[in-house]
């Protein structure tokens, strides 16, 4: 069951990822990316990260892709969306990098099964508490205790990005008078 769902989600993710890069029209690429985000969310559910699956759908599929669609349709570029000249070189380099990563992963000796360390000791108390708390509560507790400072910094990043986006999309930054 677990490997079957991984097979399905993984296949669709890889296929749509290749489609995103290969399709010529940006709108089709964005739609392919939408399908990929849904399947990544499904993969997160099989990995027991339900909160992140929901966030993936809401933020990526809901907000970020709509922003992309807005810009693709707003600009409506009428140039040929062909590839660069170095397509073969790019794909060759990509395959080389993939082979290297595959070698590293195969040589690294990663765990086959999820680590549930000291199983006998923790099984009594810890596992039960984690199961009761649930995924969202666990993530929330970690976010607001251990990672409180990075959390605040990330809010600052969003603020700076908001100001920067407003400033740069304003008229006159790259307009006729700036040229």
């Amino acid at each position: 069951m677990g490997s079957l769902s991984f097979l399905y989600f993984g296949t669709v993710i890889v296929l749509t990822a290749i489609l995103v890069v290969a399709l010529r029209k940006p709108v089709y690429s964005v739609i392919a990316l939408l399908v990929m985000f849904f399947h990544i969310a499904g993969l997160f559910v099989t990995l027991h990260a339900e909160f992140l699956a929901a966030v993936q759908l809401i933020v990526y599929a809901g907000a970020i892709l709509v922003l992309y669609l807005f810009v693709v349709m707003l600009l409506n570029v009428k140039e040929d969306d062909s590839y660069q000249r170095q397509v073969r070189l790019g794909i060759g380099l990509g395959l080389l990098a993939l082979a290297e990563v595959a070698y590293i992963v195969s040589a690294a000796g990663l765990p086959e099964e999820p680590v549930r360390e000291p199983a006998a000791a923790l099984a009594a108390a810890g596992e039960k508490a984690a199961a009761v708390a649930g995924n969202t509560e666990t993530v929330g507790r970690a976010l607001y205790t251990t990672y409180l400072f990075p959390f605040e910094v990330s809010s600052l990043i969003l603020l700076v990005a908001m100001i920067g986006a407003i400033l740069m999309a304003k008229k006159g930054i790259m307009g006729p008078e700036a040229r």
């Binding site: 890069v21 990260a49 922003l67 170095q86 999820p114 360390e117 908001m162």
Partner: protein, 100 residues
Amino acid sequence: MVPLSYYMILSAIVFVTGVVGVLIRRNIIMILLSIELMLNATNINFVAFSYYLNNIAGQVFVFFALTVAAAEVAVGLAIIIALYRGKNTIAAEELNLMKW
């Protein structure tokens, strides 16, 4: 149960697809979409490690990666709109203003 290395290979394939997309596409919007692919590949890795090593930190970091991705998209698309307004093109090789 699927071994952890399968997830890493899946994420590597998606990441390399993103890299190839950045290399071969001419449209800047498509380059940004490829960067999005790469960010999602790292997210798959984070969540897989979080599950297999039984550590919640991976999921928290996906949260931060999401924040940075949202900021990157907002600023990147604003730059694209400003470029298009000024130069009337979003082909990557036409934009050589800072090339010497």
